[in-house]
Symmetry: D3
Amino acid sequence: MSNSVQEFNDYRAKMNDKILADNNKIIKRIFNLDTNAFAEGALDVKTKELLGLVASTVLRCDDCVKYHLETSYNLGLKKEEVVEALGIATLVGGTIVIPHLRRAYEFWDNLESQS
Amino acid sequence: MSNSVQEFNDYRAKMNDKILADNNKIIKRIFNLDTNAFAEGALDVKTKELLGLVASTVLRCDDCVKYHLETSYNLGLKKEEVVEALGIATLVGGTIVIPHLRRAYEFWDNLESQS
Amino acid sequence: MSNSVQEFNDYRAKMNDKILADNNKIIKRIFNLDTNAFAEGALDVKTKELLGLVASTVLRCDDCVKYHLETSYNLGLKKEEVVEALGIATLVGGTIVIPHLRRAYEFWDNLESQS
Amino acid sequence: MSNSVQEFNDYRAKMNDKILADNNKIIKRIFNLDTNAFAEGALDVKTKELLGLVASTVLRCDDCVKYHLETSYNLGLKKEEVVEALGIATLVGGTIVIPHLRRAYEFWDNLESQS
Amino acid sequence: MSNSVQEFNDYRAKMNDKILADNNKIIKRIFNLDTNAFAEGALDVKTKELLGLVASTVLRCDDCVKYHLETSYNLGLKKEEVVEALGIATLVGGTIVIPHLRRAYEFWDNLESQS
Amino acid sequence: MSNSVQEFNDYRAKMNDKILADNNKIIKRIFNLDTNAFAEGALDVKTKELLGLVASTVLRCDDCVKYHLETSYNLGLKKEEVVEALGIATLVGGTIVIPHLRRAYEFWDNLESQS
């Protein structure tokens, strides 16, 4: 499986467009909520992004992990902060999280090397 | 990951043959039950197919989703019916279902374009 | 664990009121979507209720199962229709679903005996 | 939640009878398979029981864990063997398994003290 | 199910003592790691506690949620911060998280009213 | 997705090296525990490997399944023993396990054909 940042973003954008063009009200609102939930509030955006990352990691959703890694990277979160969050996720979620940790590390490397 | 209908069906058929040739009684009976569970009963086959689709979607099993999408398509279920079922699955299962929704939409497009 | 219909509904209503009074926008909208998703659309309400039931059962959420059993009951779905849906859920979700099946049967009995 | 062995067995037996009396073919066959899968085969019954225990523990199904603990106990498996299996389950499944581990220890104590 | 803070803590402490007295090396080390993972590091303890809370909520582990709610409360996290974290968890994990949200709200009330 | 044994092992080794070089204490200790948990103890290594395989299968972690299949193969476990374990996993975890079963069979074939 390719872990390229560009390829991931392109596929994600293309399919999101298709899904939203379909005009299913429930799905559109869930997409909309997703934007709102990670906006500044009582918690700052960096903390919220890490919450999204940990939720995605323990639920073992590679694409969700990549998305939150990229947003974390763009927000200026440092690798050691991200890794501490991933460490908590691995402990809470168990060793079945490890294959996803490998792909997360690879994707983070790709984020750093494309800059 | 290729999302081609033919490729999916070929791999699925080849490996199912291998598994069934192995003669493990438990596994064979589970395969057999799978055929029975979706047959006409108190509920019609279309409804049952949608139940299988939603179960597969919230459990985030891409191959199971593809299988039920193809069967739904062949039974004549309309896209908007399938999408409403997927919308319920996304709401109940949360935004981690979204990557699977992208692949489901892509596979449905492939089903339509191969006809 | 008590499986009384009245007790379940009272606790559910009381806590939902507390949660909604708290005015967290994300949570309020998710509650709101939940009402919309099961309304008549391309699929009728009975089918949607069964989709919600199966999603809840394979995800092994007892309270969600009870909620959808009660709504199914009130919509006039027959026991054999509900049981066929639960059968599909047990097959797709595996034998770990069985303890939830026991509680579902007990709750359905309570729904019938309170009428 | 009571963790009494007798209470657990009584509820389980009563509800299984109700479910099986209902004559849903899929559900009956799944119950039947459950008996077959743990019978002596290429693997001995003690090993199979531990496999069932670990599967139930990582999937965090308390009632399934209790069932396999009781069968393990009756087959003469030693506590340290059972605990090693639970240790693997906790590592693979993560710290969210720990609350289930507490209830498993309590149930095992109850199995020992009722003899 | 009682949601009393004292009762929860007493049972948790009693069973943890039993488990640790059992001297299974793997389990003891996992307990030990659990303490270390939430200590101050690149991320502060409040953020880590919220990460633990969100991981526990999407994995739908009531006892883990209670534990992280209590620690969050003792660290001085405000209710609106905790609720924003729970909102993200409900969006990512879906409406099956809602029953756990009800119990989380009830437990937080109990934490506040016992002070 | 390629199912080649060599490719799987190479990627796994390369990324594990990266992760461990990163010196996050929690993650390093979890990796270390993983080695210890499957060492000879009250249970022999073959039994423990099957426990790891079943845990990985019901949690539907393909990479974990491959890892335990390879170790099982190297320990001299016979195919029919491995298949009985996979059969229990499929029954407990449900038909959503079947796509992982297909990939497990394919990987086992690759293990046999590379010897």
